[in-house]
Symmetry: C2
Subunit: 420 residues, 2 copies
């Protein structure tokens, strides 16, 4: 059945024709897709059924092009799948260039709501839903490409922390794709296509599925709540702080030291899989939970008053002379006196099928972006490891670090400054 | 930390007050919740942060009350988690009544966007997002309750089919909850709460997470596409056919024979986990895929013409004298000459983390509702088992059958006609 035979072709002549509108929409959807050239028997044929009015939420498009990759400064979409790949032994620098070209080309198509070049389910491509695809390189890629000298000094497994109970099945990876969209079918389709295109170069090391509130559930700009019920990700990076704190460039060089030239406009990604022990968390009442974090459950505002995005007053003292924010509180421990020890958090909840008699297997895919892992992320994690009441109910079970190349332009490809 | 100590209370006196609006909204959210009474140290305290304008999509409410359970005739929401429980040995009829009362009470609260009675994350309850919770009973419940004589004749594992490759980890269960909403965080929270409340009565047997397009991605009424790219679930049950084909009552008795009196207004649920072999499916081009199903990929219309919801003309012959819909086509095999051999399909896609070097682990949670499994579902499944080209790319890996009790009214409880 993998090739059409003449009998099928003939039988199909008995069908009523495809509507003219369907053909026109299909042609538009494939515009610029070119013809053939990628292996695979699938014929990427566009279809009209899922092409809704331009104002449907699923038609929202985020450009993949520019100085920086999309999916980092992009407001977090509702769904994320992170896939870490291991490179197979024969994948050298030339092979990586081929993979990067294929991926970059199809990232451009998919993010525009068009079928990938070797897409065998083009119908699923027609709801871009703010799709972004973000690429990262693990330490092993630099070995495979014989470019060890270009590896950023911080690109290595994080130092071990006392709270860690890491499982190898959630650790590491040579290449990383973070695929985010406001629709889970869009994410699943993009992941499948990109994974398939990489099959001769890689094997899948791990896959993590994450979610937030569905788009439209809550008003735009509402912070997510994690599955402990907390408002999560309030303290983030302002637009005018992205250069330096997130994007590698002159400001980051001034603050943290020079990095390899190819990484300019890029950043780093730390992915920590943090399991929540909801069974013991349930034993805490609401005031105790607020004290653990230092924020109100109701609205995420600091216990020292104000609204969610107001500063926490770490010096505030109650009528009894004791600090309002306890020494062990998460907001106190997560904050350094050094204003450069901050990073962009882009977390997602996970809720996997429980095993071994457990009630649930829930937690947080804690994804952070920063210009320099060693100078920004690690010191904060060390502070939290030493003293953070929240550690009693959370356990890191996976950890990975990636270098995130800068963005690319249409016709170019991701990773070109390193591999080209 | 599970009890508040005086020091904490004092320290909190130093905080600025909770806003008056926050208190009022919180009170409204808890309206009618009553006080205490359920074990657990958690204090269900409402909060205001996630309470958006009433027109936000997340505020949509589906009533859990009525002659039939919600979540069946309800248009399928974006997300579903199905949880199958095994009863522990000590769970007898009295214990089941207690569990049903607890669950029914909290189903009423959760579906209204209010915190459950023992809810330790009340903040997560405030986005109902069209939440429905649907309850089913497996064969083992009737044994545990010593009500074997009330067990419907069809409530047993399905007969084995040649295509089956069932794995015990996806089979069976004594009690089933189907939790659906237009928001994955809402689903995760409801599942966690209801699972926790059942912990002294049950263990978790399996959990299946499913999704469709996110709400708003495509225009209302758009049929879902499964991960093979096909429009799925087109042929369904009209509103005026629900009595008889889905709901047990006089019409179903006339067509299929009498059923236990307690099941009037109820139905049955078959859950089949169907793995898709996307790697071999990828080898088919689009025309071949259309011939396998008998529908156009573009819009799900029959290959014999018309639009998605038009009838398939199984007698249509092409110019070459051959049938347009092949003898092996899924639409032909899935259709019986007996108009009662139909059922309500409410499928969801799944996309799990692949293992063992696979590229993906995707498929369909094929959930169907029908008045009589033996008379409606099984014959169709036998037809498909004998001859259905689609079998080459799909494999049932899990199977379970449940009796679905009728609905309940506020103040009553689910299962009362059987267990009361």
């Amino acid at each position: 059945m993998s090739e059409r035979d003449p009998e099928q072709t003939d039988r199909r002549a008995g069908r009523s024709g495809v509507s003219r509108r369907g053909l026109l929409v299909g042609a538009a959807a494939l515009g610029g897709a070119g013809v053939g050239g990628v292996a695979g028997a699938g014929l990427a044929r566009a279809s009209a059924a899922d092409v809704p009015a331009a104002d449907a939420a699923g038609q929202r498009v985020v450009s993949p092009y520019g100085a920086h990759q999309a999916g980092i400064a992009t407001p977090a979409q509702g769904f994320a799948t992170l896939v870490a790949f291991d490179l197979v032994a024969r994948t050298d620098r030339d092979a990586l260039v081929r993979l990067m070209r294929i991926w970059s080309d199809d990232i451009g198509r998919l993010c525009a709501g068009r079928a990938g070049l070797s897409d065998t389910e083009p119908e699923l491509a027609q709801v871009p839903a703010a799709l972004t695809i973000t690429l990262g390189y693990g330490p092993g890629l630099f070995t495979a490409a014989r470019l060890e000298s270009e590896r950023p000094s911080w690109l290595a497994p994080l130092p071990p922390f006392g709270v860690d109970r890491l499982e190898d099945r959630w650790n590491g990876g040579d290449v990383l794709l973070q695929v985010c969209a406001d629709d889970p079918t869009t994410v699943a389709h993009a992941v499948r296509l990109l994974t398939k295109e990489a099959r001769t170069f890689t094997t899948v090391r791990w896959v993590q599925h994450g979610f937030r509130r569905a788009p439209g559930s809550t008003p735009p700009g509402t912070s997510m709540r994690n599955l402990m019920g907390q408002v999560d990700g309030t303290h983030t990076i302002a637009d005018d702080e992205m250069d330096g704190l997130v994007w590698v460039g002159d400001r980051s060089a001034e603050w943290f030291g020079a990095q390899p030239a190819w990484l300019e406009g890029g950043t780093s990604l730390v992915v920590r899989r943090i399991a929540m022990n909801l069974d013991t968390w349930d034993e805490l009442d609401a005031p105790a939970r607020e004290d653990v974090i230092g924020r109100r459950l109701a609205d995420g505002a600091p216990l020292t008053g104000g609204a969610e995005h107001d500063d926490v007053d770490l010096d505030a003292v109650g009528d009894n002379g004791l600090p309002v924010i306890g020494a062990y509180a998460h907001v106190r421990r997560a904050r350094s006196d050094d204003p450069h020890q901050r990073f962009l958090r882009r977390p997602y909840s996970y809720d996997a099928a429980p095993t071994g008699g457990a009630l649930s297997d829930s937690g947080l895919i804690f994804a952070t972006y920063q210009a320099d892992v060693t100078r920004q992320f690690t010191p904060i994690q060390q502070r939290l490891d030493e003293l953070d009441l929240l550690n009693q109910w959370t356990t890191p079970v996976g950890s990975a670090v990636f270098a995130v190349p800068p963005g690319f332009e249409q016709g170019g490809w991701l990773g070109e400054p390193l591999l080209g």
